[in-house]
């Protein structure tokens, strides 16, 4: 029998090892479109966490009664319903944020991360584990969005602004180097360039980390060989 992974590792896998954005390259449309400011990225990230957790719960609950042949259309309908609910909620209570996110809020429906987790995890695991998986993957997505947005906003405007999620008013503003801001990073081209640079940076770190791990393993092997002698 396959060994069951612990809840902690399910949660952390979604954030680090299988980060949907930086490792799996899933759901890239909102990653580029909603990261021009920190606040909109945070709002989008939270929406994705909520949708992903809710769909994971529902799909895990119905996993035993769904016929295998038509499971994908059923999952899509569940996801579309949840997204509609979240969208209505946000339009009612966070009108400014919903207006900024616009159509990107609706197209969470076709975000591959959500359908991917439904198919790969929630359809085979119980509710508790599916919730943890939804939270982990969702937060991994949120952190990636926020990280990209921070870089883009700081370099592009030379300041950080935090807009209240419910009120839509600027809560605080930290000016850093507004004179030397490179506007292009807030714009369209900057989104592609910043994401490309960040991915390269992460590739570099992971390759250095892997090399170090390989070296450690080689040393261990050497030690065991010596001991054996």
């Amino acid at each position: 029998m396959k060994e069951k992974t612990s809840l902690k590792s399910i949660f952390l896998d979604g954030i680090i090892k299988n980060n949907p954005v930086f490792v799996l390259f899933l759901g890239m449309c909102p990653v580029l479109a909603t990261t021009s400011s920190f606040s909109s990225a945070l709002g989008m990230g939270i929406a994705v966490v909520v949708v992903l957790t809710m769909t994971n719960i529902i799909i895990s609950l119905i996993r035993k009664i769904v016929p295998n042949d038509i499971r994908i259309p059923i999952y899509i309908v569940v996801i579309a319903t949840v997204v509609t609910i979240v969208e209505m909620f946000m339009k009612a209570f966070m009108a400014d944020l919903a207006a900024t996110l616009g159509v990107y809020l609706s197209i969470i429906v076709v975000n591959c991360v959500i359908l991917g987790r439904a198919e790969a995890f929630a359809s085979q695991n119980n509710v508790g584990r599916s919730v943890i998986d939804g939270l982990g993957t969702g937060i991994g997505f949120l952190l990636a969005l926020v990280l990209i947005a921070l870089f883009r906003e700081i370099i592009g405007t030379g300041a950080i602004e935090f807009v209240g999620l419910f009120s839509g008013k600027v809560l605080f503003r930290l000016p850093l180097f507004e004179k030397y801001a490179i506007n292009i990073f807030v714009g369209n081209a900057g989104a592609f360039i910043m994401l490309g640079l960040l991915i390269a940076l992460i590739n570099m770190f992971t390759s250095v980390h892997e090399k170090r791990l390989l070296k450690l393993e080689a040393k261990k092997e050497e030690a065991t060989v010596k001991e054996a002698k």
Partner: protein, 196 residues
């Protein structure tokens, strides 16, 4: 004049890939070879036009009279999914050669955000009047498809040059350098901004 304006705006000024960031997944994934890009673009234009047509009709003939506008997301995604399935079966039966050419790209289109967004765009209503008349809706969907195809095919030439290029530093290989190239292309498209 209005038709030309809608077409130019959708193809160049508000290009769906480079300024609205939709369809990025196939943009990075499928565009590695020009042949694949051509197949995907053909399939997308075809499905986009059909799905907009059906969604538009369904929204204004069924959902609006029944007062069920809030169901549009669920309705459209089902329309697109079943339409893709239907097109696949019909092509397989009547045009096997075209089916072979588009084959694997058709199912991918179900989860393509371009199709869903254009369907949501064309049913937008401001002040009780639909933003797009029937003819305008067709022009808008077609030009968005062409805009996608244009960027997609041009980018596939770049991707072919980038693959196996020894001059690229290791951390930049793969998606990182592709994104940088896409960024430069988006920068070029900023030039169209003042046109309309």
């Amino acid at each position: 004049m209005k038709f030309i304006l809608i077409a130019l705006s959708a193809i160049l000024v508000n290009n769906i890939v480079l300024t609205r960031f939709l369809g990025i997944c196939p943009f990075l994934g499928v565009s590695k070879k020009t042949k694949n890009a051509l197949g995907m673009s053909g399939a997308l234009i075809f499905v986009l036009l059909l799905s907009s047509l059906v969604s538009y009709a369904f929204y204004f003939l069924v959902l609006v009279p029944l007062g069920l506008e809030f169901l549009k997301l669920v309705a459209f995604i089902l329309i697109i999914a079943s339409l893709v399935q239907f097109v696949e079966i019909a092509l397989k039966r009547f045009m096997p050669s075209l089916y072979k050419a588009l084959g694997i790209y058709l199912p991918l289109i179900t989860t393509n955000c371009v199709v869903l967004t254009v369907a949501l765009d064309v049913v937008a209503v401001t002040g009780g009047v639909a933003d797009y008349s029937f003819l305008e809706m067709i022009i808008y969907s077609l030009s968005n498809g062409i805009g996608f195809a244009l960027v997609f095919i041009v980018f596939s030439f770049t991707q072919e040059k980038l693959a196996n290029n020894k001059a690229i530093p290791t951390p930049f290989k793969g998606n990182a350098v592709a994104l940088l190239a896409a960024g430069l292309m988006a920068l070029a498209f900023v030039g169209f901004q003042g046109m309309i």
